[in-house]
């Protein structure tokens, strides 16, 4: 009982702290790649605290409600991950949160917000099937959807599911809002759609969506660790390499259209997953 309580607390605390630090390091790394110095590593925390204490300006009540639902779903999905629960359940809860964010953006009449919301829906449509296929891959190899069982598995799963790891990388790129898939909203470049999906979220509600985003990032990085669950060093190296690649891809690619995203991600993602799943089934 106490163990459960401690794990829940860990999930609730680890999400914002690790997520914020990862985001801070991301911004420094991005700046260095553009031969800039970049902000301090705690900058994301400064931003969020500032936003939390700004005057709340709400375009409509539903948007505020949706921001709360989004952060609730995102934090619950991370807590479920820490409780080593069912992967399918975690991704369904996470998807509910993602949809609430879209509904919040759709509830305002701003065209930027509307187009951003439509694009976010297409992004969800692109990565959700891939995430489910990755989970199916885990099941075929370990015979369980439970994270506890996957962590208990004796061999690194990356050797058996290499293509599914690449597929997860695509989902991660979309979820982290990185180029070339940063269609709906993005951390830099506010030119094309202002801030897209997040245009009408402001002040404390923008801070809530940002903290929710950190929860989701930590959740997906947690899923990455499942691929090398046998040693801490392997886990750390895999995570660092994956995140470095994400930042690199973000800096060397440009934003593409949603048509390209849908055909490319489904084409490559579904093919790679099918090859990996057939291989698992045969082997």
């Amino acid at each position: 009982m106490t163990r459960t309580a401690i794990l829940i607390a860990c999930g609730l605390v680890a999400g914002p702290i690790i997520g914020g630090l990862v985001s801070g390091m991301d911004r420094i790394l991005t700046a260095r790649m553009q031969s800039r110095i970049g902000p301090p590593v705690l900058q994301p925390f400064y931003d969020v605290v500032k936003l939390l204490f700004k005057e709340p300006l709400v375009v409509n009540v539903w948007q505020a409600f949706c921001a709360y639902c989004y952060i609730a779903a995102a934090s619950i999905s991370l807590v479920l991950f820490f409780l080593q629960s069912d992967l399918l359940l975690i991704f369904f809860v996470q998807a509910v949160g993602a949809v609430f964010l879209v509904v919040g953006a759709l509830s305002s009449t701003s065209p930027f917000s509307q187009i951003g919301a439509h694009r976010e829906l297409l992004q969800i449509l692109s990565y959700e099937p891939l995430l489910v296929l990755v989970v199916v891959g885990f099941y075929l190899e370990t015979g369980s959807f439970k994270i506890a069982d996957i962590y208990a598995w004796q061999h690194p799963l990356l050797l058996k599911l290499p293509f599914l790891f690449i597929v997860l990388g695509y989902a991660l790129t979309i979820k982290l809002r990185k180029s070339p898939f940063d269609l709906s909203t993005c951390h830099h470049a506010h030119q094309e759609l202002v801030k897209g999906l997040l245009t009408d979220y402001s002040g404390p509600f923008l801070a809530l969506t940002e903290i929710g985003h950190w929860f989701e990032v930590v959740l997906l990085l947690g899923v990455c660790t499942l691929f090398w669950s046998t040693s801490w060093i392997g886990m750390a190296v895999l995570l660092a390499a994956t995140y470095f690649l994400e930042v690199l891809v973000d800096n060397i690619t440009s934003r593409m259209t949603w048509r390209w995203m849908l055909s490319y991600v489904w084409g490559v993602g579904l093919t790679l997953s099918l090859v990996n799943l057939i291989w698992l089934h045969q082997g």
């Binding site: 911004r27 700046a31 553009q34 031969s35 800039r36 110095i37 970049g38 902000p39 301090p40 900058q43 925390f45 400064y46 931003d47 605290v49 500032k50 204490f53 700004k54 005057e55 709340p56 300006l57 506010h190 030119q191 202002v194 801030k195 245009t199 009408d200 979220y201 402001s202 002040g203 923008l206």
Partner: protein, 150 residues
Amino acid sequence: MQAVKRFINRLRSKSPWLLHFDCGSCNGCDIEILACLTPVYDVERFGIIHVGNPFHADILLTSGTVNHRNKKVLANLYSQMPNPKIVVAIGACGLSGGVFREAYNVVGGIDKVIPVDVYVPGCPPKPEAIIDGAVLGLGKLLQLQERKEA
């Protein structure tokens, strides 16, 4: 409680998000403002982000003369920014109307429409002066907050 408030105010001054509005400038000042974002000046060091959205902005950077057409846009942008907020007027035209102040269509400087906190003179001002103006504005933001709470 006081310490917490001071801490929050400190954090506030570390994350100023800029909204840049060209109020009918010749683009001279705007090029200098955009130069602040390049690797040479890199304002992200101070946590400054250039947002295109009044809902997210803390500082309104305005350049150029105000005329009867765009004064409503300027007032609208200002009213859409959540408090606490400050306004920095950039360049000779933003300060007083500059060489255009006598023109029939010109209202004058930015402060004819909205309250201005910091004036950055020059035609155009150097990027260093613009960064200095924004940082001065942050100091004023801190002062205003502390006076309000005292």
